[in-house]
């Protein structure tokens, strides 16, 4: 029986612990410096918006851990000694392990902006960020304006959160259009319009120069790089991406780059030390995937895979077809397979784009321009079935087949209006023109 210690009680660490328990009797300890119990990070926004209480973000009741013999330990690890297999906590205590798993997730990026550590400047990642936001932006009297820096998924969620409390938001996006490093142009521009419709002051191609403090030492305004314009605000949200949260490993023998370097088996350079989730960096990219995947689903999948290895059945992390999802204010987004943005689109990739006239629904289908093989789909405002697309991708279906059979993949609630006929017509029309 091994003594398995997991640092981090996020989705990766918890999935790993659950699966290890399912297949073995190993001793399992989950360490967290953030919260006593596992919660769903993706749901923090709903707590601020009043849709849920924090306890609702916890997928397991508090008795679950004891019942499944998963020991919980609250504390911050600040040193890992891999020779003596010991962890050192910030309060001086130590803990030994047989197998160590690093699942410490991410931290918000800060790019050395002047004033980035002022009071009132925050990311949105940890439970503590939520508490901090509640303190500095409880309503629009305490927070007369908030500025969000960084146009990604967390940035738009923060914008939605703040506007749910009628706090005016200025949203600085470095790119020329929202998230267009990932989304094709048509989609990105539709989301731009949707953001503006929700009353957000969206500033495209805008960078932060500095954050200024008021007399009380708190944030009072920001200055824009391009125009020098000063925007007064009480809260600055830094949402310019995340990076692995691994500073505590600096002086250890564990090899790191931006993240903890791992092979396909999620093993580090040190025997019996593994890394999963946001903080793990693949030595070699898997397919089209980035070497660091800071996504809920991949964290879960790495946990599933590593559990096999730790239970004596050595298994590589071998993810299937790419998928992801998000929600931009009222518009849901799902993606299956690969659809590339204008900047990243490979030469062979052709795209078919359809948008509904109400400007809240669109799809983009990517296919190989020579072989016509279906490569992936982005869908906005229309829910689609994961299983069906997974199957079509595995069967290497042609784009015509996918378009003709799109109705089979529909996952919208019953009685919803359907758009397949319109989409098929648009597709054929496009082919005739081309």
């Amino acid at each position: 029986m091994d003594n398995i210690v997991i640092i981090g009680n996020g989705i990766s660490g918890v999935t790993l612990a659950r699966h290890v328990r399912k297949f073995s009797d190993h001793r399992i300890t989950l360490i967290s410096g953030e919260t006593d119990y596992f919660f769903s990070r993706t749901a923090l926004m709903y707590v601020y918006m009043g849709h849920m209480k924090f306890e609702h973000t916890q997928p397991y009741e508090n008795w679950f851990w004891k019942k499944n013999r998963i020991e919980l330990r609250k504390g911050i690890v600040n040193k890992v000694d891999t020779n003596s297999k010991t962890l050192k906590f910030s309060n001086g205590e130590t803990m030994s392990y047989d197998k160590l798993v690093i699942a410490t997730g991410s931290k918000p990026n800060k790019f050395g902006w002047p004033g980035q550590d002022l009071e009132g400047v925050m990311g949105l990642y940890h439970k503590q960020d939520l508490d901090n936001l509640e303190k500095h932006a409880p309503n629009n009297e305490v927070c007369k304006r908030a500025v969000i820096v960084g146009g990604g998924l967390i940035g738009i969620e923060l914008a939605e959160m703040l506007s749910s409390r009628s706090i005016p938001v200025t949203f600085l996006v470095r790119e020329s259009s929202f998230w267009n490093g990932v989304l094709p142009e048509g989609e990105s521009q539709m989301i731009n319009r949707h953001i503006i419709k929700h009353g957000i002051d969206l500033r495209l191609s805008s960078n932060l120069k500095e954050i200024k403090a008021g007399a009380n030492g708190k944030v009072s305004s920001i200055i824009l790089e391009e125009t020098g314009e000063e925007i007064s605000c009480d809260v600055v949200g830094l949402t310019a991406g995340v990076s692995p949260n691994i500073d505590f490993l600096k002086n250890s023998e564990i090899e790191t780059n931006r993240g903890v370097l791992v092979n396909r088996y999620l093993e580090t350079n040190i025997p019996d030390v593994f890394a999963i989730g946001d903080c793990a960096e693949q030595r070699k990219a898997i397919g089209n995937r980035p070497t660091i995947e800071a996504v809920w689903y991949t964290g879960r999948m790495m946990g599933e895979a590593l559990a096999q290895t730790l239970c004596g059945n050595r298994m590589p992390y071998n993810p299937g077809h790419w998928f992801n999802s998000a929600k931009f204010f009222d518009i849901e987004y799902q993606t299956y397979g690969w659809v590339h943005s204008k900047k990243k689109k490979p030469d062979y990739e052709a795209q078919f784009h359809w948008r509904h006239e109400d400007d809240t629904k669109c799809i983009t289908v990517a296919y190989h321009k020579d072989t016509k093989m279906f490569l992936g789909i982005n869908t906005f405002g229309i829910r689609m079935r994961h299983k069906t697309f997974n199957q079509w991708l595995s069967e290497e279906r042609k784009v015509d087949y996918v378009i003709e059979h799109l109705a089979e993949a529909n996952f919208d609630p019953e009685f919803y209006a359907r758009y397949e006929t319109e989409i098929v017509d648009a597709f054929h029309k496009k082919l005739q023109i081309a």
């Binding site: 699966h19 399912k22 297949f23 769903s40 993706t42 749901a43 709903y46 918006m49 009043g50 849709h51 849920m52 209480k53 924090f54 609702h56 973000t57 997928p59 009741e61 509640e134 303190k135 309503n139 629009n140 009297e141 305490v142 749910s164 409390r165 009628s166 689903y297 879960r300 999948m301 599933e304 895979a305 096999q308 059945n313 298994m315 590589p316 992390y317 071998n318 993810p319 299937g320 077809h321 998928f323 999802s325 998000a326 929600k327 204010f329 009222d330 849901e332 799902q334 829910r383 079935r385 994961h386 299983k387 997974n390 996952f411 919208d412 609630p413 019953e414 009685f415 919803y416 209006a417």
Partner: protein, 522 residues
């Protein structure tokens, strides 16, 4: 965490005026309750109804039409009314008090006893009752009118809140229609056509309608000629033929969230409280024991009641005690053996105990018959059993607790813990139905919106995050979990029975071989 109320949740001036308008309407009712004798009753009654409706309509339009279509749960846990705050408790106490007076002290509402004229609140409703059926109002007429009003005006509010969602809209039109037509208007018109008929809400099915087979009810039907007989037969067909067919095809939702009046009120007036239901495992355990106990109670009670008024020979009714008891035990035995033969592998441990307990009751009924314990059941008179059921289940559970406690325990307390009809439908939904909630591959992010907003207290997330379909007897198919899901993970579907329950982790996304392994070892 700060409890400062976010400014966005403050009411606008228009909404505040709407609240005042609605309260004025209610105030007329309160004055009537305090025995103020209005000169032109019809005018004041109409004014009261119009003011309440106008207030709610203006309020709802301001709340939802000024915003984009989409999920509107902002601040649900910050508002005093919907988060068990002071206002929540006050509303709960007022409603509870109203139910107690309604069921046990109708004279305080102004019911005229011994031929005296109605006064007070009930007196105010006399003109409307006269208009519809030519008789004076009773406390049940007042209750029925207010109940229907609530479903209609809060139904309108719900329609605006979910105006982007066609499933929600159709379902709400449906409960509004069934309440107005079937529960309110048709019974009144039936009385006008044939005043021997007892009040009969055609959509209220036994055992929810627990007095349908009472002696007075059956006699009244039979004495009302062919139409009466037809209605009584319809009542029997409803539970034994119509219900099983529709539940097989669509799940219990066809009734609980599309037709039923209790469900109708819960889904409209009760909607702001849906997130208050407990999702704890302990609550689920309690639910299973409680609801099935009520079901057994209602079956035994009804059997005993019918048994006691049937004669020994064919002179009173063609149905004799012997034939009746044979029918009941025969039906229950077929049900029991059928389920045990074909579906026992789908049962949890406590469900098995429950089933065995149920079968024991049947056997006892048989013993009772053949040992000649005539009008007593387990040494309790059947009439006592009947009045106990009426008091504790019919009044206290379904009314006082079921509706009065909306702002405390959520809007489906009765439907979840007490309704015997829900127990029957749920039993079938779990075992013989095409209905399920499908989980969309690996897309769940465990956020918990689905579980939080499930009025039946189902921990939907526990299934969704494992990629399992949700097949639960308590699910009323309201579809709110699917609506609030931010990632499009849940879909209510009627599909083939095969593969409906998939109790394995089939989250898509990972290595296919690994997932097979995960399932094999389980």
């Amino acid at each position: 965490m700060s409890i400062a109320k976010p400014d966005a949740l403050q009411l606008t001036i228009k909404q505040k005026s709407a609240v005042v308008i609605g309260l004025l309407g209610l105030f007329i009712l309160v004055l009537a309750l305090a025995n103020v004798n209005f000169p032109y009753k019809e005018t004041f009654l109409a004014a009261s109804m119009i003011l309440i409706a106008a207030g709610t309509i203006i309020y709802s339009r301001e709340a939802y039409l000024s915003k984009h279509e989409g999920i509107k749960n902002d601040g649900a846990w910050f508002k005093s009314t919907s988060a068990r705050g002071l206002w929540g408790w006050i509303i709960g106490l007022v409603l509870t008090g109203f139910y107690i007076v309604l069921y046990f002290f109708p004279e305080y509402l102004g019911l005229g006893t011994d031929g005296a004229n109605n006064t007070g609140l009930i007196g105010l409703f006399d003109p409307l009752s006269q208009l519809l059926s030519g008789r004076n109002a009773s406390q049940w007429f007042v209750y029925g009118t207010l109940y229907t009003m609530a479903i209609l005006v809060f139904g309108y509010k719900f329609l605006l809140k979910y105006r982007h969602n066609r499933y929600q809209r159709l379902r709400t039109f449906s409960v509004m229609f069934f309440q107005l037509a079937f529960a309110f208007l048709i019974p009144e018109f039936m009385y006008v056509m044939n005043n021997d008929l007892p009040y009969y809400d055609l959509k209220s099915i036994w055992p929810l309608n627990y007095y349908l087979f009472d002696e007075w009810s059956v006699k009244a039907f039979l004495s009302a000629g062919h139409i009466g007989l037809a209605l009584l037969l319809f009542g029997i067909i409803s539970i034994f033929i119509i219900t099983p067919i529709l539940t097989y095809k669509y799940g219990k939702r066809w009734y609980c969230s599309w037709v039923c009046g209790c469900g109708g009120l819960a889904e409209t007036a009760g909607d702001p409280f849906r997130h208050l239901s407990s999702k704890k495992l302990s609550a689920w355990k309690m639910e299973r024991w409680l609801i099935h106990t009520v079901l057994v109670f209602s079956v035994v009670m009804t059997t005993a009641v019918i048994y006691s008024y049937l004669g020994y020979d064919k002179n009173d009714f063609w149905l004799t005690r012997g034939v009746f008891i044979a029918l009941v035990t025969g039906l229950l035995s077929i049900l029991f053996t059928g389920v045990m033969l074909f579906k026992r592998h789908e049962f949890g441990k406590d469900a098995k105990y429950g089933a065995i307990g149920f079968f024991t009751v049947i056997m006892l009924l048989l013993v009772m018959h053949f040992t000649g314990t005539t009008d007593k059941l387990f040494f309790v008179k059947s009439s006592a059993l009947r009045s106990a059921y009426g008091l504790y289940i019919g009044s206290i559970f379904s009314g006082v607790i079921g509706t009065g406690f909306y702002p405390i325990f959520g809007n489906r307390v009765w439907c979840r813990f007490g309704c015997p009809m829900a127990a029957i439908l749920g039993f079938q939904q779990r075992l013989f139905s095409k209905f399920r909630i499908t989980t969309n591959g690996g897309q769940c992010i465990s956020c918990g919106n689905c579980s939080t907003y499930c009025e039946m207290g189902i921990d939907v997330r526990a299934y969704a995050q494992k990629g399992e379909n949700i097949v639960r007897s308590s699910c009323v198919g309201c579809g709110i979990c699917a609506a609030v899901c931010p990632r499009g993970v849940l879909k209510l579907e009627n599909d083939s029975m095969k593969g409906r329950i998939n109790p394995t982790e089939i989250l898509l996304g990972n290595d296919v071989n690994l997932m097979e392994l995960v399932n094999k070892k389980q």
